[in-house]
Symmetry: C2
Subunit: 345 residues, 2 copies
């Protein structure tokens, strides 16, 4: 087992002090008036030995870790994993590493992990907050730690938030339905008071009121998320109980999946028996037959904004991002599932 070499070993071997080596390694040779000759001697020897400074020690001394903590609802969710991937890519370029973790939207898990992040002294936080995390986030702000929230936020907190216009996303989808003459439009969402879901609901109700429609809403408990079959069963029941529904909007990607399964099980034909739009696009929606219309979130832009805001703090004047809410627009990707099939109708 190759013994680890420390900066002191390097120093001893060259008969200089550890401080000198440290200065050279941190590019402060000129600033600290180390001669060019010495600098070369050290650099050469360091390269030859393949010495790598111990980040843990460095982190302890400087209080910086070059790590960003990222807390999402679930890394297996394609929406979050796609953003995670983009964020990671950008972080990598700036010599930061990402430390992901999933909360499953549970307050306790989120608190635990956030604690672990703090203990590890991560330099910045990217958080998709579950309910009840206000205090912890306020704590980060109080301690002057850079935080960026995305997907949802707490209106009461002075954080930097990157979100999409959930209200408008749903509203656009509704207008599309109405334009194609659908009158009885269902909305399947989850029981949640978080901003993103609340805004989606508002968008639905706004459209319903504006157009004088009858609302048909089904709320699924969030706790059912791991149990796809149960969600499918509930949606099936909802559609059976409300046979008038001729179009339905699903408020999240996993609800859409279960909803499509429910529709399949009921033997209904899309879009002739029932039209469908999902919130959150999916690589596969274009391949479905019929292809599925979706409200697409701008994944690339979200990732870019998240990183831009966070990096401005990390590399800049160490200030907090400050209270700022950046609202990005969604895009309705119109496919076959939301318009009557001209061939058969």
């Amino acid at each position: 087992m190759k013994k680890k070499v420390s900066i002191h070993d390097i120093a001893k071997q060259l008969n200089v002090s550890a401080a000198t080596v440290s200065f050279v390694l941190n590019g402060k040779a000129t600033e600290k008036r180390i001669s060019g000759e010495m600098e070369q001697r050290i650099l050469k020897h360091v390269k030859q030995l393949g010495y790598r400074p111990n980040r843990v020690a460095k982190s302890l001394r400087t209080g910086k870790s070059k790590i960003i903590g990222m807390l999402v609802e679930g890394i297996a969710d394609p929406f979050f994993s796609a953003i995670a991937r983009n964020v990671e890519e950008q972080a990598y370029k700036l010599d930061y590493k990402i430390f992901y973790a999933s909360t499953e939207n549970e307050t306790r898990i989120a608190k635990d992990i956030l604690g672990a992040f703090r203990d590890t002294q991560v330099d910045g936080y990217i958080i998709v907050p579950p309910p009840g995390l206000e205090e912890e986030i306020q704590g980060l702000i109080d301690d002057n730690l850079p935080v960026v929230l995305f997907d949802r936020y707490f209106p009461g907190l002075a954080t930097c938030n990157i979100i999409v216009d959930n209200f408008d996303g749903v509203y656009q989808a509704m207008r599309h339905f109405v334009k194609h003459d659908y009158k009885n439009i269902g909305f399947v969402t989850i029981h949640s008071t978080q901003t993103q879901m609340r805004d989606r609901s508002s968008g639905y109700y706004h459209a319903v009121n504006e157009k004088g429609l009858t609302p048909y809403v089904k709320m699924i408990g969030f706790d059912l998320k791991p149990d796809q079959e149960k969600i499918t069963a509930e949606i099936k029941q909802f559609l059976q109980d409300n046979p008038k529904i001729e179009a339905v909007l699903f408020a999240t990607n996993y609800l859409a999946i279960s909803g499509l399964e429910a529709i399949k099980q009921l033997g209904l034909s899309i879009p002739n028996d029932i039209a469908v739009i999902g919130f959150d696009d999916n690589t596969h929606f274009s391949l479905f037959s019929p292809s599925i219309t979706a409200v697409a979130q701008p994944i690339r832009e979200i990732s870019d904004q998240v990183m831009q805001q966070l990096m401005a703090c990390l590399t800049g004047n160490e200030k907090l991002p400050g209270k700022k809410t950046i609202v990005l627009q969604t895009k309705l990707i119109i496919r076959e599932s939301s318009q009557v099939n001209k061939l058969t109708s």
Copy 2:
């Protein structure tokens, strides 16, 4: 900004030494003969202040970090993110954190990140190795660091590997095709010499030879992975060039997606014009019309085995896992895409 409290602050406030506090906090009170009275006094005060030990300092001293480094091909890939999610869940229970990163199967990125993991002193490594990472992995072994590889491995290295029977997975799929009387069966794979792809190819050729069939193979460059459209175009070309093909097997999930798109663009009907099987199942395959037959990898089992092997080293007698290759079985999930449609044929 709340000043951070250290173990010395605690000690001073209680008029004891830092060592005593440390012993109590690490549950060594009895072993180190600290009185119950003192123990309670310290615990109470620590709880009251909400003191949390600095993990970085602890890590520097002990050389342990309670972090596991996980290197996958791409965190946005549903196969890897599902495994990551499971692994994370188990690690969490054992008080370990996971540090993910994506390599995009590039040697240089993988080396970089592995270096960062080492610098951070992660306690264990879970790796899906890109080509050319042999030396670095051997280096981990030489330094007695626990490593588990999965999905693919290097036959020359004495590592613990968790893989699936890729050969048999493909072979089963081929047998299924043959059973349903398909004779001209295409195989779309990527240009790669890594074990998992090599074995899938072997499975195909074995079946082709055994049944006396004509091989139709299309190799896609791995570098095209980010460019879905190009892959789609190549597959389209392949199918057009080989009109005899009546069934096709895709060797990875993203090839299947592009392949389905190609088939859609060609206006072919599945399974009547062309039958399809994909390697790697997908949440959505059951919802496609027709639903897509797939070779499912046992995600849960893979994650369990990975963690079991790694944890045995971490919590146990600090030995390496040793050379051991655990081969799990795939399961052919038969759906509509691979058998002639009884209604119309």
